[in-house]
């Protein structure tokens, strides 16, 4: 028993979950390869990318050192700071590409929405986990409000992608806590029913246009449909085996937009084919499976709910991004997790995995 305990203790003491860590490092290695190709072999970009990866790994290790109890205590203060900063962004934020997402802190720019990606599930998990599962209607309503407040503020920036991710992280907590199926059924049918009048009376023409373009991108091949068409050409021309690393013509010749960020999946599909896609999806499934396994085995409700919600939110990234670039979903700016170039979101994701590892290696109950 002691020997077994000692054997595990190296990683336990470091508060790291080895299977998850290995999977994450494999993904990052893959990311370096694909971003290198997508950036047109630009070394300065690679250095920035790898620096951020290092930062992300450090963030993960640091977060893993916080015990779930500490995280629980931090939830409310983080949430409040986050909310204040979101209001601040709307009032004094810095604009870039038509959206106001950044807060200029003098030394560095900061995107408060990234903080909320962690603070929201932490707060909801803390709030719901305080009481019995499944939660009472009153708790559900308050939990829902905790989710919606930052979501709406972020949607105002506007940043639909992040708003969806933050809303999902909160709602997954509610789902995992045992939200009744009847209520789920009722709410989803309400949303469906509301969609029809919303389409006719609640949307501007340009918004309708965006939806129509999504449904049939070929109707506007040079305008808003261009991204999706080029992306599908990249994916489709990759075939089963792919064109080979650095050989993707759609990406190397720059027909593919946003290749190293949101559309990196298309680069991967073009160069590594269906084979590469299957490897990628398998890795994702492994990470999600491991995350849920950790959640199920967590010591208390807070840990379970938080780890589960973070894991499922991670899948939302995957689904929205791949769905978008392959033409299943409209274009929303969500990166491909752990693969896309782009610092902040990778740091946040890895911090999330740090939290999951902290939950996985929480010894409090073991000692009982």
């Amino acid at each position: 028993m002691t020997a077994l305990h000692d054997k595990r203790s190296i990683w336990m003491r470091m508060h790291l979950d080895l299977p998850l860590l290995i999977a994450l490092l494999i993904m990052m290695a893959g990311s370096i390869m694909v971003v290198y190709s997508a950036s047109g072999q630009e070394s300065s970009m690679m250095i920035r990318h790898m620096t951020r990866m290092g930062g992300a790994i450090v963030a993960m290790i640091v977060l893993a050192q916080f015990s779930p109890a500490t995280l629980k205590r931090l939830a409310i203060p983080l949430y409040c700071i986050g909310l204040l900063m979101l209001v601040g962004v709307l009032l004094f934020g810095v604009s870039s590409k038509g959206a106001q997402r950044w807060l200029d802190l003098g030394i560095t720019r900061f995107q408060p929405a990234e903080l909320m990606k962690l603070a929201v599930p932490m707060t909801v998990a803390w709030y719901i986990g305080r009481n019995h599962l499944p939660p009472r209607p009153m708790h559900l309503i308050i939990g829902f409000m905790i989710v919606m407040l930052p979501t709406l503020l972020i949607k105002e920036q506007p940043d639909l992608g992040t708003a969806i991710l933050i809303a999902s992280s909160g709602i997954f907590v509610l789902f995992l806590s045992g939200l009744s199926w009847r209520l789920i059924g009722f709410l989803s049918s309400m949303v469906t029913l509301a969609a029809w009048p919303f389409w006719h009376y609640g949307m501007h023409d340009y918004q309708k246009q965006r939806v129509l373009t999504f449904l049939d991108p070929e109707s506007d091949p040079l305008g808003s449909g261009y991204h999706i068409i080029q992306s599908k050409i990249a994916i489709g021309s990759g075939g089963v085996e792919g064109k080979g690393w650095l050989q993707g013509t759609q990406s190397q010749l720059e027909f593919l937009p946003e290749r190293h960020t949101d559309f990196i999946f298309s680069v991967l599909s073009e160069e590594f084919g269906l084979f590469g896609v299957c490897v990628l999806l398998s890795l994702y499934l492994f990470i999600i499976g491991r995350g849920l396994y950790i959640a199920v085995n967590a010591q208390d409700a807070f840990g379970k709910l938080l780890a589960g919600a973070l894991t499922l939110t991670f899948f939302v990234y995957v689904f929205v991004n791949i769905g978008m670039v392959s033409g299943l979903l409209p274009v929303v700016g969500v990166p491909l997790p752990l693969i896309s170039y782009g610092g902040t979101s990778m740091v946040t994701l890895m911090a999330g995995f740090g939290i999951i590892m902290s939950i996985a290696t929480d010894k409090r109950m073991l000692l009982k």
Partner: protein, 622 residues
Amino acid sequence: MLKHRPTIRDHSAEANLFARRAFVGFVFVLGLVAVLLSNIYTIQVQDHQDYQTRSNDNRIKVIPIAPNRGLIYDRNGVLLAENKPVYNLEVIPEEVDDLDESLDQISKIIAITEQDKQDFLKDIKHTRRFKSQVLKARLDETEVAKFSVNQHKFPGFSIEARLARYYSFGDTLTHALGYVAKLNRKELNQLEQEDRATNYRATHDIGKLGLEKYYEETLHGKVGSQRVEVNNRGRVIRTLSMIPPQPGSDLVLTLDVGLQQIAQHALKDMRGAVVVMDAKDGGVLALYSNPSYDPNLFVHGISSKNYKALLNQDRPLINRTTQGRYAPASTVKPLMAVLALEENIVNETTTMWDPGFFEIRNVEHKWRDWKRWGHGHVDVYKAIEESCDTYFYDAAYRLGITKISDFMARFGYGDLSGIDIHEETTAILPSKEWKEDRFKESWWPGDTISVGIGQGYWTATPIQIANATNILVNRGINHPPHLVQVIKKDNDITQINNEEKPPVILEDPRHWQVSLDAMHNTVQKISGTAHNAFKGTNYDSAGKTGTAQIVSIAQGERYDADSLKERQRDNTIYVGFAPYSDPKIVVSVVLENNHGGIQIARQLMDYYFAANPVNLARNDTP
């Protein structure tokens, strides 16, 4: 779900509930991954071919490469039309930081007109920014040098060379060579209809006139292409494959540029035309129309000012050798004599009395001879040598228009000579049918009389006159005129245009000799009309003069050149050939409102026989 909640937390129940939810969540994740995967499968496997094609369409572009146009040489291998590089100052807007500033700076080095600048700014609005646009075309050497020294100060500016047609002899050969100029919309439509447009995808210029137009297909060559890979902005990344263009064939002409220069020099500022033909094969040795103009003006697009200058009353744009319609006048007398002999209207010994005019019974009009007091007793020889009008008035009147018209048609009058340029007119060989068609009037016997001396309704082009004379000196053998003798492609040589037309056969071939002898006398006898001009030549020539009045002189008055306005003075014509015994060349010279054609013919023949001495005549005539 639990309705009654225990106050103490049931951890295992909660754990179970969570585990179930987590399981549902994982199943849901698997389901959605399956959706993603099936969609990717559809795109990557089922529709792979389609997307593969579209991916290649994106990146592969085919760029046509223009072939080099065939060159044109004269009979001695002198280059007449070549392709010379022209240097254009071009700009890639994308690579220029401050376009306005750069344009200001470059103007200080190379003169750029406001027009150039406006055109350039207009052009770049309509094209992609990485594409090179011409700012100034055709820089001279100084400008090229000036720019080269300063090039480092102008990123995005460069000098590009392109081949353009250049006619090194300028206006000496314009009407024969013609010129090329920018391919226009109309010509492109025409090419499309003929299914030749693809061959012109990279071509700037097309033959517009003369040989350049007539031999367009031969000279043009075949377009090549290269398949290139481009990026999303259309910039070429690399060449995948290339089919080189095939240059056009070269033309070797029958023309002798030396003779052209003699003709041009001799005509000076006179309006007129010179045709020199090789009597052996119909090859045209000289084809010069004056005034001429520089065809190079048209190659790069003629300015409206320059073009207006060409629309003056001297009409330099007209090719007088093939489009000028002149009364052939007395130059038709030798043929008219042959016809009269054939038809037994006259014979070698018949004489008639010329009182200085011809008249028909019961008609008051008198057809006057050029010699007011008449030539006295005239036989067929004297009639040609001294160019007696009355003799031929009488002969024509007795022959009748139909016989004349039918006979002259066999010598090419009233028809295209078939020379290998498109700018040609048939002129008019009058006949009964023609007059009825043209004037809705019947032919009067009186109409025939002036036709007898090559006037009246009769008009002919200088090339027709030369051609008819050529048939005469060859005793009926008909070598139609042509300008190209050889088409050359690499080492592949095609001899062309040496076919014969059906010969004119006389019932009595001795009748040729009568006219040829008379033409010989015209030059050799002191009384002959062309005697003085040809004194002292070392070759033996023969010929016939002609004078055509432009305004009719009232009955009883006489022609006085000084009292007439310049453009009402007579046209003069001379046809000649040499050597008399074995003709090698035929010359025809037509001068509008001027005289001196005989002297010009002599200069041409002197030049020709200096270069091709008679006694050293080569047997292998080209």
